[in-house]
């Protein structure tokens, strides 16, 4: 597919690769044979419902948990063997942005810069500006809002100039404005700084808006993976949304071309209404000509993109998120 080609062509080197990760808790397989690559400059979405194995996978990616089988490579380094060197390329937030609440933002950043190579502390003012925390940097973290903690967590993760940023549910608990801020920051880091960003989420819309590529995980297994557009196209290719008047007549005309339903209000009336139709791409010009010939006014025709929710429903066989 052309979008895929463009995406993989523009993306950089593989920064992180998970190879057949498997983790058992007792007899339950929490993660089974999960593999994916994350490339420089892309935002990679890791999508799945709560309890799908996202956090367990992330724990293995950052060395908090040992995989029973499989391997994590960061910049080609085996995480299990070269932990210190490999983690030098990684910045992460696992689960919640838990920092030391009794320390100030600056003290937290100084604390973690002492765990990094020399020079990390000098980046603190710049990073504080990036995450818009400069003014509150000398306040205790206990006084921060969740959004500020999330941003401080990201500043912390960026201290070591990482090649890959791993964020676990960065939108959790944030208000819409906070979510947008994080999204813009993530996009900026990937597009302008060439950092590979791995984002897990159970919010489909979030992943759809932020990510270049996505892997869908369910019950510990990856069900689908690929560029977001490509996955969406799979479901979306025959979807049309028309706005036409009179609606009732439009539906009659479109019926022979494919499945039709009236989306908004005004079904069965002669007023203007939105109509969802599933018409194969090749038949769309004929359908439009037929509408015009029948005297139907068409105000708008859009190819409606399926949301990831629909993709998800399709790949999981109908289970909701």
């Amino acid at each position: 597919m052309s979008t895929a080609a463009v995406l993989s062509g523009s993306a950089g080197d593989i920064v992180l690769s998970a190879e057949h990760l498997t983790k058992r808790f007792g007899r339950r397989e929490a993660v089974a044979d999960v593999s994916f690559d994350v490339r420089a400059g892309e935002v990679f979405g890791f999508l799945g419902p709560n309890g799908a194995g996202k956090t367990t996978t992330i724990r293995m990616l950052v060395g908090l948990a040992r995989p029973d089988r499989g391997r994590v490579r960061i910049r080609g380094l085996d995480l299990a063997r070269d932990f210190e060197e490999a983690m030098g390329h990684v910045g992460c937030i696992v689960e919640a942005p838990d920092l030391y609440k009794y320390l100030t933002g600056r003290e937290n950043l100084l604390h973690f810069s002492r765990m990094l190579a020399a020079g990390a502390a000098e980046r603190i003012p710049e990073l504080a500006r990036l995450v818009v925390l400069s003014e509150r940097l000398d306040d205790k973290v206990s006084t921060y809002s969740l959004g500020m903690r999330q941003r401080l967590g990201i500043a912390q993760a960026l201290l070591g100039n990482p090649d890959i940023l791993i964020l676990d549910e960065p939108a959790n608990g944030l208000d819409p404005a906070g979510i947008r801020e994080i999204r813009q920051l993530v996009r900026h880091l990937a597009s302008d700084r060439g950092i590979a960003v791995f984002v897990s989420s159970h919010l489909l819309s979030e992943v759809e808006q932020t990510c270049d590529r996505v892997a869908i995980i369910h019950r510990g297994r990856t069900l689908a993976s690929g560029p977001v557009r490509e996955l969406v196209d799979r479901v979306a290719s025959d979807r049309l949304r028309l706005t036409a008047r009179p609606a009732r007549r439009a539906v009659e005309v479109l019926k022979p071309f494919g499945a039709v339903e009236i989306a908004g209000e005004g079904a069965g009336t002669d007023e203007e209404a939105a109509i969802d139709a599933r018409i194969p791409k090749a038949k769309v010009p004929d359908a439009l000509r037929a509408l015009t010939a029948a005297g139907v006014d068409v105000f708008a025709v859009e190819r409606s993109l399926a949301s990831l929710e629909e993709v998800f429903l399709e790949v999981t066989g109908g289970e909701t998120v």
Binding site: R59, G63, F83, A96, D98, Y102, F112, R114, M115
Partner: protein
């Protein structure tokens, strides 16, 4: 290369969690209270009698108690030992009840070694790992380019450093209050130490007379060593239990058991292999009769060292290997 920075991190956390402040206040409050209460008590107890007379009177009382025959066997053992010790002081013309600022400092080493200093060691060590789990910060701490063994090593060093500062500070506070109560001079005075029982009686060959300052340094060294060992054990419980309350409770229960076990079950000899039984190293050194047969400074220090090394090995093994799922 970055190790001093890691230790600095841990010390910063102690400071910001008010650990040092609490310990300092406890030491000042407690030692001040002891110095005040003791100086009041002495005035009433000794009056202005000559110490030779007072000591002989005390020996007479102990002998009466022994003749009485109602004394339990462990008390009898202590009584004979005490008689010999007092007799020895009379012979050498050294006042067994002498007091001065420096002697108060010296006494604090013995008094604090089995409960207070271990307690303060626990204050530092028992949440040094578990708090990171409780706060969730362990996930950040262990995903930095620093191996887990080095993270735990930095915590261990910080705990040992904090305990060292605590013991030093305790000595200084004791000197300040002891000096207020009894005067600051007298570091060079001779003290008799090394009282050891040989069978039923005191072994005179072991008794030595040394300068008070030297004796004090030795006693504090032993108390410090015992506190360090408690610190490593508390670190282990902190690693294993991942809950500060549980770790602190476990260590406290062990300490309390250690202070009552020898009294409740003095004949159970195996308890000399427990770490709590060996904490009063300064006592065993200066020679009060050991609660259990066979307890000496050397044995106690060796036993504590074995406990500490085993605790460290276990703590490192578990900390490095275990998955972090908090």
């Amino acid at each position: 290369m970055r190790f001093p920075g890691l230790v600095e991190n841990e010390m910063l956390k102690f400071a910001r969690q008010r650990r040092f402040r609490v310990v300092v206040l406890i030491l000042i409050g407690l030692i001040g209270l002891i110095a005040f209460a003791q100086s009041r008590g002495r005035e009433r107890f000794l009056g202005d009698k000559d110490w030779h007379v007072a000591t002989q009177e005390r020996m007479a009382r102990i002998q009466n108690g022994l003749r009485d025959g109602r004394m339990p066997p462990t008390m009898q053992r202590w009584a004979r030992f005490e008689l010999d010790r007092l007799q020895y002081h009379l012979e050498r013309d050294v006042n067994p009840d002498a007091i001065s600022g420096p002697l108060f400092v010296r006494g604090f080493a013995n008094a604090s070694s089995y409960l207070l200093l271990p307690l303060l060691a626990i204050v530092f060590a028992s949440d040094v790992v578990s708090a990171e789990f409780a706060q969730g910060t362990i996930k950040l701490l262990l995903t930095r380019p620093v191996g887990r063994a080095r993270v735990l090593a930095s915590k261990l060093v910080a705990v040992l450093l904090a305990i060292t500062l605590t013991v030093l500070f305790g000595g200084i506070v004791a000197y300040v209050f002891g000096g207020i109560a009894y005067g600051y001079g007298g570091w060079a005075a001779p003290v008799l130490t090394g009282f050891r029982s040989a069978g039923e009686r005191l072994d005179p060959a072991a008794v030595r007379s040394i300068a008070l300052w030297k004796d004090t340094v030795l006693a504090y060294g032993l108390a410090w060593f015992a506190a360090l060992c408690v610190g490593t054990l508390a670190l282990l419980t902190s690693v294993l239990l991942r809950s500060t309350a549980a770790a602190m409770g476990t260590m406290l229960a062990a300490l309390i058991a250690g202070t009552i076990l020898p009294r409740l079950a003095p004949t159970w000899e195996t308890q000399k292999f427990l770490f709590v039984t060996n904490l009063p190293l300064p006592d065993y050194y200066s020679g009060s009769p050991a609660p259990i047969q066979g307890l000496t400074v050397g044995f106690g220090a060796a036993t504590l060292a074995v406990w500490a090394v085993a605790a460290l090995a276990t703590a490192f093994l578990v900390f490095v290997k275990r998955d972090v799922l908090a």
